[in-house]
Amino acid sequence: MILELSQLSKAYSQFDFGPVDLTVDEEVLAVLGPSGSGKTTLLSLIAGITGLDSGSILLDGRELVGQPLEDRHVGMVFQEGALFPHMTARENIEYAATASDHVDELATLLELEEVLNRKPPTLSGGERQRVALARSLATDPDVLLLDEPLSSLDAPIRKRLRDELHNLFESLEIPILYVTHDQRTATALGDRIAIVRDGGLEQVGSPSTVLTRPTNRFVARFTGNENLFEGSVTDRAADGARVRFGDLQLQTTASDISTSAVTVCIHPSRVEVETPIVADGNRSVNTVTGTVARWLNEGSVYRVDIQIEAGSLTLTANVRPPTFERLTIDNGSEIQVLIPQESIHLIPELE
């Protein structure tokens, strides 16, 4: 199965979607973007809920455009589950099932045996989403679309279900589009990630590429790259360019920068404040010093804003709790910041 979207577009009064070209193989494509960016519209167009203005949707060569949604064989898991509230979990799944033995099979697969006789309002969020998924799968869909199925769940349940989905998706050999606004979910589940903004695709690629090599500021910011600075390339060499921003001048491994004006992008999780014993001779590190301006305990990590002494820049670093405690970090403490050369990503700024 392969899903090929070409020149898909749809104009609303306040919002234009597309044109979008996208091919999804038997893989999980995580569609990541802010609310209102057109993620749900994309799924609605594929499912046939929304009519499109122009474009083509080929599923293994079969044109879906023009077919009513009931004939597309596209499974959709809606944001809040869209379970039929007057049917029990079992009835919801049976309603969809092409074969009746399917129901128990799916119930076992998604660990739903216990809740089959309960009605949706009495189910927890996680159970509801699993029933919705089972219901979609009961039709043996040729494509599976999921619209933020985890967004309303509690963190521990979300984490567990994410793991389950990861395994389940690997076993399904169909194209899967998974819409989310949560970068961690997209990274954990997606074989590839598509970043959506204002009805268009900004970047499509593997999670690590999208996260560490964003093609523009929007992608960078949306994937948690909080350290974005305007800079300029001062020196190009085969093994990497030097870049100046603020009063800092740092060595990078970036080699194919076409413009002089760049956005310097350093993900907070790649800023280090401690040198590891396993120092690696091949990896060169820029070292600067600064003062802690503010810190915030975010549970698993401390977010530390560091005022760089060489200028007026503030660099944010994610610091693990043991490190935070070991270094007795507090407002005003002096701190040494290590920025690996390969962690500095340069985004060319076109005029």
Partner: protein, 267 residues
């Protein structure tokens, strides 16, 4: 500041409570306005008189006709009205508004006039009515006539109410059903209708109530077979109120029981 706002707020309280009472009193007055005449009706007749009428074959016949015709009218109104209501609920624009206006207009016409106008369309003298008579299925002076009259007068209620009920059903659920490969009809039957159920039931209730109480149009279209409202009329012009009230009470009781059963079975 606490002092200022406290006094400020307690002023609002008194005011608010007063108005709450006023609102409750207004509602209570309306309720009394429904109850008192009904009580006065029930108290005006000794229970024995009502029981006696229940053995009167004419009254029994009219009760049968009323129940049957109001049931058929309600079924017809629902069967034809729900698709219209659904269309109204899922469409927007000028045409929708005009259609909605057309649905409301039969209410504006006094029922007797409505009955007369229906006669011009369905009476034996009209092409349609003539053909129906020739086919042995007269559209006036028959159960069909009663149903036509009641449907004209009562069906707008189920349309208007069901429209609101359909609007309250999340369309996502319909999309979900169809994306599971179910046709529009299957979706309507298994998803939309059950979920709009309580609103539709309210509309069906209004329609049945109005249909079983319909007099003016029914009298014009079908004086025979007599429905209970016509029978009440006949009893009244025969011997006055004392003669008519027991039948009226029977009508209210029968309609109330029917509505109770309808609402119990349906929910």
């Amino acid at each position: 500041m606490a002092t200022r706002s406290n006094s400020n707020r307690s002023g609002t309280v008194t005011f608010g409570l007063d108005w709450l009472s006023v609102a409750l009193i207004l509602g209570g007055v309306l309720l009394l306005y429904y109850i008192v005449p009904m009580m006065s009706l029930f108290l005006s007749v000794p229970p024995g008189d009502i029981l006696a009428r229940m053995n009167n074959p004419t009254v029994v016949d009219s009760a049968t006709t009323s129940l049957l015709s109001a049931s058929i009218s309600t079924v017809v109104a629902t069967l034809f009205g729900l698709p219209l209501a659904y269309w109204l609920a899922r469409t927007d624009g000028a045409v929708t508004k005009m259609v909605l206006a057309v649905v409301v207009l039969p209410l504006v016409l006094p029922p007797t006039v409505g009955g007369i106008v229906l006669l011009t369309v369905f009476g034996p003298g009209s092409p349609l009515g003539g053909a129906a008579v020739a086919a042995g299925f007269p559209l006036t002076r028959s159960l069909a006539g009663v149903v036509l009259a009641q449907t004209f007068v009562a069906s707008p209620f189920v349309v208007v109410t069901a429209k609101a009920a359909f609007e309250s059903v999340d369309q996502t659920l319909e999309y979900a059903s169809r994306s599971l490969g179910k046709s529009r009809l299957t979706t309507a039957r298994h998803v939309t209708l059950p979920l709009a159920g309580s609103g539709i039931l309210a509309g069906v209730t209004l329609t049945f109530a109005r249909a079983i109480g319909e007099f003016g149009a029914t009298m014009m279209m079908a004086y025979y077979p007599r429905t209970m409202p016509v029978q009440i009329w006949v009893a009244f012009i025969e011997l006055g109120l004392d003669n008519a009230y027991p039948v009226a009470i029977l009508l209210v009781v029968i309609a109330a029981v029917a509505l109770l059963i309808l609402n119990t079975v349906a929910s």
